[in-house]
Amino acid sequence: MILKAEKISKEFIREMKNTNRFFAVQETDFILESGSLTVLMGRSGSGKSTLLNMFAGLMLPTSGKILLDNTDMYSLPDKELSEFRNRHIGVIPQGQTALHSLNVLENVCLPYTLGGEDAHEADALALLETLEIAPLQAAMPAELSGGELRRMAIARAFLRKPEIILADEPTSDLDDETTKIVFSFLKHAAQNGSAVFVVTHENDAVQYADRVFRMNAGILEEQ
């Protein structure tokens, strides 16, 4: 699967000196290929999350198109786009994303159980094992540390073995050791054919990357 962005931009309305609008993402072309790990770095507020959210189908670009194997993502009806995201795009958003009425294992199984499918608990447990939080499977999110919650979100995004993985600062709460585990995990997914896109401030991420981009005030540049 190829995710292709054609001349996308995102403009927000904000009070400023001369004008009340600004571009968080300037007109950008971009291709996310299967089997490769792309790393996006850049200063805070430069538009990285905005770009990732547009790729995820969660934010309509102000201009341009995002094509998934030649279908315009945002031309799909909500139901189809949602279903597509559920099956084929694993999103790890910035910040904490637990559902507090479910325990860790149930949170991880959500991509399946949401649509009433079998939970695939064995797969979920294997992921928890790799991310070293298997003993926490029955714990409630409120009991977990920030890094543990982060790994739970990573496991959840990977459960359906999506072709596209979009991770927004997946290692921000993690120690060096765990960061390594997560990056080799992402690398492994890329080697197995997924298209992996990671926004990060981690300089070491470059080691794992097939391509590295930098975002600067809404302008995307390949390094």
Binding site: A56, L58, Q96, L102, L110, R156
Partner: protein, 401 residues
């Protein structure tokens, strides 16, 4: 997927206090709607039953009866009492214009002393002409009453086959009437042959306040239905002008006091239902809004995982449905448990005819009350469901990381 693992259920179970409060609130809502409606309907059924039990357009009594032996207390409140007038007056009344059906009735009150089993109102009728009591007795007892057969009202502690004694005469309980919710539930009915014998015996025992009457030559009251082409008012006026020492009363007027207080109580209950309903809907609305608002982030996460906008709305609606359905079932069940066993007490407290509708109708009200409460809950949740389906996922995910 098992119901107990479904997300709406888990969300409710995860907030036990809030869920319980919401369930209790809908329970209160449905209790008021169901209990209130059942009260109003029972009162109306009671009034209707009273109307059909009186069964005549006009009741003519000796003039003294309207003052001395307070007629309304006997007919409407279940007090005991009796009065008599000469047979000749019956003939005069029968001669008036516009009389469709006419039949005499005979009253006697039994005493609470040893001569009688119970102190009750005994009403005798003429099987030849009667049109008010016979159709009613027919429902419980298909045969003609023999001498010393009596039919007892539903509230009396006597059963078919029992023997009850009035003024030293043993009477046989031939039938027990269905409940009417009126003063007639505590009365005893018999034919004129029997009641004349009982009156004679009460005279012989010197226990009748009237001493110089011949039971064969008196009646207590005359029931009349207007003939076609005549208004009830015309006949009442005619009798009151032409027949001396009697008072003709429209039965509709007699029970107008009751229908007035009934209308008053119905209004109060209706207002109560409305107030509770509006308050309930407003509180539910606020509760659902708050509950959904504080979980905005979780709903955004569901979007990220692949829930469609409709699915988010569906989760909110399912939560509301689950809460309101359990609440309203509890509420109506509570209503049944409160009203069914205590309806006798309610009847006494209100001092109005009160008759529960048939069980089939009650089941209908149960279903209607559950539906109304569930619908109210769903309406209250609909706004929240709609708003959550419109969320800007990316914007919400930015918040409070």
């Amino acid at each position: 997927m098992k119901f107990s693992k479904s997300l709406p259920f888990r969300n409710l179970a995860g907030k036990p206090v809030r869920t319980t409060v919401l369930i209790l609130l809908t329970a209160l809502l449905s209790l008021t709607v169901f209990g209130g409606t059942l009260m109003i309907i029972s009162l109306k059924t009671g009034l209707h039953s009273l109307e059909s039990r009186l069964g005549a357009d006009i009741m003519v009594v000796p003039y003294e009866a309207t003052t001395k032996a307070n007629l309304e207390n006997i007919v409407l409140q279940g007090a005991t009492g009796y009065f008599y007038m000469d047979n000749a007056r019956y003939e005069k009344i029968a001669d008036c214009d516009g009389i469709g059906q006419i039949s005499a009735q005979f009253f006697l009150a039994s005493a609470s002393s040893s001569c009688c089993s119970v102190a009750v109102q005994i009403i005798g009728f003429d099987p030849e002409t009667d049109f008010t009591i016979t159709p009613w007795i027919q429902k419980s007892y298909g045969q003609e009453l023999q001498k010393f057969d009596v039919v007892v009202g539903n509230d009396l502690n006597a059963f078919v086959g029992d023997t009850i004694t009035f003024y030293g005469i043993d009477c046989h309980v031939a039938a027990k009437l269905d409940k009417t919710g009126t003063a007639f539930d505590t009365a005893v009915f018999t034919n004129q042959e029997t009641i004349k014998a009982l009156i004679q015996s009460s005279l012989d025992l010197k226990m009748n306040t009237f001493q110089n009457i011949d039971p064969e030559k008196v009646v207590s009251c005359v029931m009349i239905n207007a003939a076609e082409g005549y208004t009830v008012e015309e006949i009442v006026n005619d009798i009151n002008i032409h027949v001396k020492k009697v008072k003709a009363i429209q039965t509709k007027e007699m029970i107008s006091g009751i229908s007035d207080s009934l209308a008053g109580i119905s209004d109060i209950i209706s207002i109560l239902i409305l107030v509770v309903w509006v308050l309930g809907v407003v509180i539910l609305l606020l509760a659902f809004t708050m509950s959904v608002n504080e979980r905005k982030k979780e709903f955004a996460v569901l979007r990220v995982i692949g829930a469609s906008r409709n699915r988010l709305a569906g989760i909110v609606m399912q939560e509301a449905l689950l809460t309101c359905l359990s609440g309203s079932i509890i509420g109506t069940a509570l209503g049944l448990v409160i009203i069914m066993p205590f309806h006798q007490m309610i009847e006494e407290q209100l001092n109005l005819p009160f008759l529960l509708p048939a069980s089939g109708k009650i089941i209908g009200f149960v279903i209607a009350a559950v539906l109304v409460s569930v619908l109210s809950g769903c309406i209250s949740a609909a706004a929240s469901a709609f708003r959550i389906s419109r969320i800007d996922t990316a914007l919400i995910l930015r918040g409070d990381n």
